[in-house]
Amino acid sequence: MAGPETTHQQWLKQIGAELDGELSLMERAALAKHLATCSRCAGARASQLEVRVALARSAGDPHAFVVPRPSIRAGTLTLWVIVALATGMLGGWLANRRWGGPGSGAPLEDTRGTIVVQ
C-alpha cells in the first residue's frame, strides 16, 4: 500500500516528466488538479523550473523551450581520442625506457648467484 510520502515522490516524478514534455493530456490534467491542492508539489515544480531556467541560461539560450542537451561534435571527440591514445603510447614508451619491461628493477648482477669464500 502506498503511503503519502510514496505518493508525493510519484507526483514529483510526474512534475519532471511534465517539464520534459513526456505526459499525455490526461496525465497533465491530473497533475494540474493535484498541484491546485498541494502547495508542496507546486513549490517543487517552481524549483524545478528555476533550475531548468538556470541551466538554459548557462547553456547560452535563456529562451529555450527545453533545457539544451550538451553535445560533443564528432571532430572534437576524434581529436580527444587521438590525444589520449598518443599520451598513453608516449607514457608507455617513456616508462619502458626508464624502468624496462616486466620484472624486478634491481641490477642484474644483484640477482645473480655469488660464491663467497670464508
Partner: protein
C-alpha cells in the same frame, strides 16, 4: 710460458690425475634466522677428481641450477660454477607465466680447508634467503671407485636437489645386427673415448659383417641449458664405418644416446640394421 708456471701446471695435472684420490662435495642448505640458522638439507657428492656436482633450488618465483667443478692447484683449488637461473617476472596478457633466463659463470680460488658460501639468489637479496655451504674434501682411496651421492631433505616443502655428474671415459656397447625378425648374437665391447676405431665382426644368417666402431662425445649440446648444466654428460656417440679395405668411402653413420641400456638403431647400407645399446662399463 715461464718455466715455473709450466712446472706448476704439470704439478696440477699430476695431482689432478693422481690415482686413488677421491673428492667429496659436502653441502648444507641453510636458512638464516635471528636465533639459530636452520639446516634445510644436507648431502654429499663424492667420486673421482673430475666428478662434478649439480645443485638445483626451486621456489615459486625462481629456479637456480648450478654445475660445480674444480681444478686442484696444490693446496688450493679453483671452484668453478656454471649457473642457469630462471626468474619469474610476471604474467602474459593470456595469463601464462613469464620467465627470464640467465646463464653466467663464477670462479673462486680457495684452500682445501675453506668453506664456500653460495648465495643462489644473490648476496644482497632480502633477509632470510637460503644459502648453500660447500666444503670440499679430498682423501686418498685405494682405487678409483664409482661416484656416490647422498642427500637428506630436512624441510620437505623445499624443492632442492644435489646430483653427481659423471662424464664417462669408457662405455660398454652391446651390438646386434637385425634383419626382419632375425637378430644376431649380442656382441659386447668396451670402448674408450676418442680411442682409435676397433674392428667388430657380427654374424647374421651365416653372413659376417665387419664394422669399424669408436665412441666420442657429442659435438654440440642441444640447448644453452644442456651445455651449462652438462645435462648430456652421459650421452655418447657411436661412429660406425666400413673396414678400411671395403670399397665404401663414406662412414655408415653415427648413433648417439645415454648410457641407459636402451638400444638405438642405425640402418646400414647392407640392408641390415645395427642395434647399439649403451651402458656404463663394469667396475674395475
Amino acid at each position: 710460458m715461464g718455466l715455473s708456471s709450466f712446472s706448476s701446471l704439470l704439478l696440477a695435472l699430476a695431482s689432478f690425475q693422481g690415482p686413488g684420490t677421491r673428492l667429496t662435495y659436502r653441502v648444507r642448505v641453510i636458512e638464516p634466522a635471528s636465533v639459530e640458522p636452520r639446516v634445510l638439507a644436507s648431502g654429499a657428492v663424492s667420486g673421482p677428481l673430475d666428478n662434478e656436482m649439480r645443485l638445483t633450488l626451486r621456489t615459486d618465483s625462481a629456479e637456480v641450477e648450478a654445475l660445480f667443478h674444480l681444478t686442484p692447484f696444490g693446496d688450493t683449488v679453483s671452484l668453478g660454477a656454471e649457473f642457469y637461473t630462471r626468474r619469474r617476472v610476471g604474467r602474459s596478457r593470456r595469463g601464462l607465466p613469464l620467465w627470464e633466463e640467465d646463464t653466467y659463470r663464477r670462479l673462486v680460488r680457495l684452500a682445501w680447508s675453506d668453506t664456500a658460501r653460495i648465495y643462489p639468489f644473490g648476496q644482497n637479496r632480502r633477509e632470510g634467503s637460503a644459502f648453500v655451504e660447500l666444503i670440499l674434501e679430498r682423501r686418498f682411496a685405494g682405487g678409483e671407485g664409482r661416484s656416490a651421492e647422498r642427500f637428506d631433505l630436512v624441510d620437505s616443502t623445499r624443492d632442492l636437489r644435489v646430483e653427481a655428474v659423471v662424464r664417462p671415459r669408457r662405455a660398454r656397447v652391446i651390438l646386434n645386427l637385425v634383419r626382419g625378425d632375425t637378430v644376431s648374437g649380442p656382441r659386447p665391447i668396451d670402448l674408450v673415448l676418442d680411442e682409435p676405431p676397433r674392428v667388430v665382426q657380427l654374424v647374421l644368417r651365416g653372413r659376417a659383417t665387419t664394422l669399424l666402431v669408436s665412441v666420442a662425445r657429442p659435438s654440440e649440446a642441444r640447448s644453452p641449458r644442456d651445455r651449462a648444466l652438462a645435462l648430456d654428460a652421459d650421452v655418447l656417440c657411436l661412429r660406425v664405418a666400413p673396414p678400411p679395405a671395403a670399397d665404401a668411402p663414406q662412414p655408415f653413420g653415427t648413433v648417439c644416446g645415454r648410457l641407459n641400456n636402451v638400444a638405438r638403431q642405425l640402418p646400414l647400407p647392407t640392408g641390415d640394421t645395427l642395434a647399439a645399446t649403451f651402458a656404463w662399463p663394469g667396475a674395475r
